[in-house]
Amino acid sequence: MHAPREPHLTAMKRLLWYLRGTLGYRLLLDRSFSVELVVYTDADWAGCPDTRRSTSGYVVFLGGNLVSWSSKRQPVVSRSSAEAEYRAVTNCVAEAAWLRQLLVELHRPLARSSLVYCNNVSAVYLSTKTVQHQRTKHVIDLHFVRDHVAIGDVRILTSRPPHSLRTSSPRASLPQPSPSFAPASTSPVASCGCGGILCVLLVFLLIQS
């Protein structure tokens, strides 16, 4: 931010072109009868050319409605792509745990486990296997996810085919959400401050009605 260069200005202009092109986009919150909590995650291993840190992101669907999303550079360097994906999964589990707790407080606890879809088989394997491994023993996040898997709050799965997602959440105005983060599936509605909880509360009320 303090030393901008020409490519950064180009990137920013491109963002504005994108905003211009998506002015008519809206985030649709639909009345839904399912209260399933589904999270999709992905990570770009060592994506930052300067720090070699990875970027991870997720989208959270409550009853087929997008309520929370994030794309953020991870705070530490990962030694393998599985490790980077696993850190992404950890963020999802934390967000899912917060939403579950919120729904408990709204007197509508989720009956089923949250589902976290991750396209890295090793990361999924790490979430249940409690074997100490030379290449993962430094990852503290392992224990956090395993604890939540053990009590049945969450299940970590490899990505389900996109068509099953399409049938479970028909969306008229938005492009079909895809588990692989098509940028168009994230809407520009701010998730900062109170925005995130506003989305959750609105979806919650739609489920109630």
């Binding site: 030393a3 901008p4 260069r5 020409e6 490519p7 950064h8 200005l9 990137a11 202009k13 491109r14 963002l15 504005l16 072109w17 994108y18 905003l19 211009r20 092109g21 998506t22 002015l23 986009y25 809206r26 985030l27 649709l28 919150l29 639909d30 009345r31 994506g47 930052c48 050319p49 300067d50 917060w98 707790q101 919120l102 407080e105 709204l106 007197h107 105005s173 940028p183 168009a184 809407s187 520009p188 509605v189 701010a190 401050g193 109170c194 925005g195 909880i197 506003l198 989305c199 509360l201 609105l202 009320l205 739609l206």
Partner: protein
């Protein structure tokens, strides 16, 4: 779902700490210029203010029977014998919803008795997000906010593109020409 707005929210807070300030310019008592003033009520710009006005609201909501959610302290939940209401508080903006119209009106009335408050009717605009009702749900968007950004950049009529970033190539701190003050538009 109703929307309320608190008038001059920051003046509602009560000061629990002692805050002194220098005599304001033009109002200095020339005979006793070494004196300072002490605040009785809260004032805009004080760092104690946001917490002060939040706690004043929270205390009042507690007396109405609301409890704050542990997962998010801006959400207040009312749950007494079959009756439920939710209140979302963000500085001076409030979203309120209740299971029945009578409960909703009752809460609005008690809030208005305590604070100067404007009832903005059915929820349509909250924290820059516009909420439009649809037959089967809601539409959320930030069209106005986006237009403001484009206008500020002078790009209201620019071309559009379908993705926000180039998937080829990565941005680096050190690559490309440095931008100088001549590139600034502000």
């Amino acid at each position: 779902m109703h929307q309320l707005d608190v008038k001059n929210a920051f003046l509602h807070g009560t000061l629990t700490e002692t805050v002194y300030y220098n005599q304001p310019d033009g109002f200095v008592d020339s005979s006793r210029s070494d004196l300072v003033c002490r605040l009785n009520k809260s004032l805009y710009g004080l760092k104690q203010v946001p917490r002060g006005c939040y706690s004043r609201f929270a205390t009042f909501l507690h007396t109405l029977g609301f409890t704050e959610a542990k997962s998010d302290t801006s959400l207040f939940i009312y749950h007494h014998g079959g009756e439920t209401a939710y209140l979302l508080l963000y500085v001076d903006d409030i979203v309120l919803t209740a299971c029945s119209e009578s409960l909703l009106q009752r809460i609005i009335a008690s809030l208005q008795k305590e604070f100067a408050m404007k009832d903005l009717g059915v929820l349509h605009h909250f924290l820059g997000v516009t909420i439009e009702p649809r037959p089967s749900g809601l539409f959320l968007h930030q069209r106005q906010f986006t237009c403001d950004i484009l206008e500020r950049a002078g790009m209201t009529d620019c071309k559009s593109c379908s993705t926000p970033v180039d998937t080829q190539g990565k941005l680096s701190e050190a690559e490309g020409l440095m931008l100088g003050p001549e590139d600034s538009t502000a």
